[in-house]
Structure formats: C-alpha cells, structure tokens
Subunit: 371 residues, 2 copies
C-alpha cells in the first residue's frame, strides 16, 4: 500500500493545487498598477470573510504579528486588559500584555472549556478601568469555540474593545465581526484561508480606531496608522509577501464561489462527522464547546500521543496534530477547515483507528510479556 | 514584437523557475523532522552567505521587521544611536530609533554619496555614550555602497555595536560580517537571495548578544531571545513562512554551487557593464560609490522618470525602478544581483536607450510645435 499524503493539522492546512500554481507564476514588482489592483481587490474582499465593513489590514508575518498589532495599536502604557486564558494561544495575549507593560487581569478557564459570558461581565463590572477584552474565537490547542456573540454584547456596553484571535477560526467557525461587536479581529493565512503561512490580517472597528489614535505604545513595523495611510493608495508601508497576496486573490475567488455561509455549514458538518468518528473508536472528546475548525480527543492511558502522531505521519502519511503544552502526548487534534475534504477525514479517521488498534495490541502484548 | 518580461527592479528580483516549482510542492507541517531538517540546514548555510560564524535568525516578515529587530533587541530606553542617513532606507533607522525613544544622532550625507569613515570616528569621539552605529551596506534608493570594512574597524574600538542594513546588498556586494566587525546584519529574501518577499534575516555577534541580554525595550514577535531558544530545536517561536524556507534551501544550493566569491565577482562585473551602458547613452551616474547590487543614473531635464518607467514596464515589458522620495522622477535604477543575467541587462539597457530616444524626440517635437 502506498503512503498517503493527507494533511489534517490545524495549520498549515492543504493549499489547493491551482493556488500553488498561481503563486509559482513569474514574480513582478509590487509598486505597480498590476499589484495595486490585486491588493485593493483582496483588501476589499477579505471584509466579506470577516463579515465587516471596516478595514482589514494585511501584514507580512505570522499570526502572532497580528496579535502583537492588536496589543500595540489599541493600548497605552499601563492600560488594564482582560485576558481569557483557556489554552496555549490565548496565553499569548497575556505574554504580549506583559511585554508591553499593560496590566492583564486573567480569567483562567479549564482547558477544554469555554469562558462563560457572565464571567466577562463580572470582571468588567468589578474593574471598569479595563480597556480591552482579549480571547480566542477557536482556541486551536483545545478545539474550544467561544461564544463571541454573547461576549460581544457584554463588551459593547462598556468602553472596552473586544479583541478576538480568529487565527484558526476565521472562515470556518461563524464570526460576525460587525454584528457581534468584535472590534479587532486577527487572523492568518495558513488555516481556513488555505494558503501557506506568511500573511496575517487584522480588522479595526470605529471604536477601536479611536483607541488607535491615542495609543502611545512604541511600534513601527506593526504600526497600523502606517498601514491605514498606505491603504489609501492600495499599498502597504513595507514590501508585502506578494506571492501570498497573489494566492489570496485566488483563495477569495474560491471562497466567494462557494459562499461564506455554505463554508460555515460545510465546516460544521465536517466537524460533526469528525467528532462522531472519534467517538465511534471509543475516544472521549476533549472540548466541551465543539468548533467547526478543529476537533480534539483525549487518548486512552497507555497510548503515547507523540508516538501515535509520528507513526501516522511517518509510516502512514497522515499528518494530524498532538497536544501542546500541558496536553502534550495526551490528545489528538484533527482540523476540518479550508480545503480539507470529507474523503481526507474518512481516510484520516480510518488510519487513526487502525493505528490506535495496533498500538493497543502492542501495549497489551507488552503487558502480557511483563506480567 | 512580443512584449518582454524582464524584471530589473532592486527587489523583488526574478525568482528562478526551479525555485518557484519547489515552493509549489504540496505543503506540510512545520513541527516535524522534515521541516526541522530543512530549517536547520538553511540556518547553518545562511552563515556562509553572511560570512559569519554567529547565528543568523530567520524571521517571517518584510526586511523592515529585521531592521526593527536590530532596534528593539540591542538597545535600552534612552540609548544614544548614530545613524548615517544617505537615502530613504537609512532614514528608516532614525524613524525606528524615534519610535522606540532612543536618541539618534544623524550624520546626513548627500544623496548619491557614501559616509566617510572619519565622520563616524569623529561622531563617536564626540559622544562616547553612543551605543550603536546604524547604516546601509548598499542604500538601495541611491545605489551607494558604503565602506563597511573601514567603518567596522572604527566601531570595533568602541563599546558601540555596528548595525548594517544589507537588505539589498547581501549576496551581491561583498560583506565580510565577522572579519569586518559588522555586529548585526539584517537582510531579506527578495533581493540577491532571489526569493519572493516574506523572509527577513538577522545575524548577531557575541558583542551584540551581550547587549541583547540587557536590552529593556518592549518586544515579543521580534524578540530574538525567543528565536535563540527555539533555534536549539531547529525551530522558530512562531509559525514560519515555510514555503519560502523550502525555497531558501534551493537558493542556497544554487549559491553554494556557484560559490559566494564567484557571485560577488559576477555582480561586480554586471554592475560595471550596467554603468557603462548607462553612460554610453549619455546618462550621468547618480552614485559616487558604485555598488554591485544596483546602479542608478540621473535623467536629463525634460524626461519624466515616472513616465519612462511606466512606458518601459507597460508597453515594453521591462521593469526597472524610478526614484524614491526626493529623487522621484529624476533617476532610474537597475538591479544586477540575484538571478538577473547579462542578457536581461543587455535587453533592459537597449530598451531604456530606445525609450529615452523616443521620449526625447517626442519632447523635441513638442518643443518645436510650441516655439
């Protein structure tokens, strides 16, 4: 049996062949009408993926660069910020806040769980000086989806801005940026946007823009005022990762042709399919708030999750993700966003069941030998 | 006559077809032995391009992200820095210093000229509190090459570190990072490294590393201590632009197969060839310190440089660069680095001469009609 090549990691996700080909066309210069036309088009059309009428800026960087942009552009020295920590990526908001001398208040939520909107309301009531609320749409490390709609309604009543990390979730889990009051939404290219990593995105509401005017934190490469100014000429302040922007135009064709509502529906169905598959092999789902982006399952005792991921990848050609941080070796995570198909998931789940079975047999055999 | 497709801009430069193809291979995950092997290889082999034994970190970002890394990692609040300004890109060092509350002393050098090492010695003598000297190897906007060897010898005698922006120059103009005492060298992927934009590089000497330990400026995405730590596992702290790193491995094959000394020689010869060509059509060279990366010529009065560049690009398929900032419309710039060939330059120069001739005739005819 020949080795498969199935990529089910929650970023990078598979890049469709026609998009890879578009990015391999001869390169050209970015300060030209040709590039400005593409850049202007993708900047406008990204809004439809974010479901916003506000500007979406395109940065050359990893998703974390856009998270940092959300810290340095909308706060001033000593500002209080509220961070919901429920996994590795949300914890980055706290690290960023500390790096820039903000004062983070942390709501610690058990891994696998989502914050309750009442917890946010309570924290904001207790400390009206809080200037921002930072959290994940989908916490990639735990496969937890949070209720941005309800949280947005809470935050909208206050002076604080709502900062949502949708790096993995955007374009898979429903996020109605404007309608739900997500003031600043950050995302990146290598998840549901199905491009290679290297581009990051950030949307800015009018409420957030006012904070941006007053922010006194030091910044240059991530100074969104420079991006705002350059955008008037369909330009960026610094040389853009232009092959990725060329790919982005093709991705947006694809997204528009399917329709964002259909995409949310498809990812939700694939998520349900994946979780049923995981449960049917006797695994326990890790997340109590399932996401359309990625699903996670706890592994039985005696199964080494690191080894499982390695065997599946190196011997069977199916790449899925293990656990991160505290969950290392204890969970598997399977993405169902972007260009990942039902067929990929069927195969991936089949190979997972098969490998778990082999590892179980092996550990039982080892158990017998020892006893 | 069919339209050509010749790219002679000083970044992006042409990306060889085999490298474009390598980057269009199916994507894979970066936290894998497969990626670590590539990343570890490129990190080691980049040192041979920098001519350093010190670490070279790979950032996902435009060249400016590495310039900012040179500001935020090696200074502390209120530090004095000396900046040589002789064009648009060197001016960015001053903007970065101001953004991070450093105290820049500026040596203003006329556009088209290089700083004299004595000017640096004098400034450092006058103000021994200066912690760093920032300048360009090749100032892309003026095509001026600076004498890093002599300047390095001056700076090495002091406590200051030498920060060299070699974004365009690296791999075209000779730069002996270690031997010349360039403590921090920044570069990027889309110039002589002949990749699309999206990766930035920064090398760090032992003298610089000591400053890094003490630096108290805020940073996170560009915090080189995080890169240093991750590098121990052939990893990066944040998701890398992995298709570009895959391309970089192929580029390094190519660079090693030609040999860096042969590349310096070739770019120098192509530079001489280009400048002779420009002079032979009656143009005056703009730079008094010619570079092997890019050459610039002043345009005669009555020739609109913006129009010239546009006609050559849109009607004749030859992309070269006009002037930036103060020099807008007044110069043309032609790159001769990376994968640009002598044949490209011959054609580019021929089309430039032809277009200048046409524009001259047109303006003479217009002159006659008016008189």
């Amino acid at each position: 049996m020949s080795k498969k090549n199935i990529l089910l990691t929650p970023g990078p996700t598979p890049v469709p062949e026609d998009i890879l080909r578009a990015m391999a066309e001869p390169i050209f210069h970015h300060r030209t009408p040709r590039y400005r036309k593409i850049f202007s088009s993708v900047s406008e059309r990204l809004k439809k993926v974010f479901l916003t009428k506000n500007p979406v800026y395109v940065l050359t960087g990893s998703g974390t660069s856009a998270m940092e942009a959300s810290t340095v552009n909308f706060h001033s020295a000593g500002d209080e910020t509220l961070v919901v920590e429920n996994g590795k990526f949300s914890e980055r908001f706290t690290q960023l806040a500390k790096a820039y001398s903000l004062k983070p208040t942390v709501i610690k939520v058990a891994y696998g769980e989502a914050v309750r909107p009442e917890q946010i309301a309570e924290a904001l009531k207790k400390n009206p000086a809080i200037k921002s609320v930072c959290l994940e749409l989908c916490e990639t490390s735990t496969a937890v989806l949070q209720d941005i709609k309800a949280i947005g309604a809470v935050v909208a009543k206050t002076e604080a801005v709502l900062i949502v990390d949708a790096i993995s979730g955007l374009g898979a889990d429903r996020l109605e940026t404007d309608a739900w009051g997500a003031d600043i939404v950050v995302s990146a290219s290598q998840k549901a946007i199905m491009l290679p990593p290297g581009l990051a995105f950030i949307s800015v509401s009018e409420k957030a823009r006012k904070k941006m005017e007053k922010s006194n934190l030091p910044k240059y490469y991530l100074d969104l005022k420079l991006y705002e100014k350059a955008a008037k000429d369909a330009d960026t302040p610094f040389t853009p990762a232009l092959t990725l922007v060329v790919g982005l135009e093709k991705v947006l064709d694809r997204i528009e042709s399917e329709g964002i509502e259909n995409i949310f529906k498809r990812c939700a169905e694939l998520g349900t399919f994946t979780r049923r598959g995981l449960e049917s092999m006797g695994l326990k789902l890790f997340s109590k708030a399932p996401s359309s982006t990625v699903s996670a399952a706890s592994l039985p005792d005696g199964i080494d999750g690191e080894k499982l991921v390695q065997v599946m990848r190196d011997e069977k050609g199916v790449a899925l993700a293990g656990g991160q941080g505290e969950m290392k070796g204890r969970v598997v995570r399977i993405a169902h966003m972007g260009a990942i198909t039902k067929k990929d998931l069927e195969e991936g789940l089949r190979v997972l069941a098969e490998t778990l079975h082999e590892m179980n047999r092996h550990s039982e055999a080892a158990g017998r030998r020892i006893s």
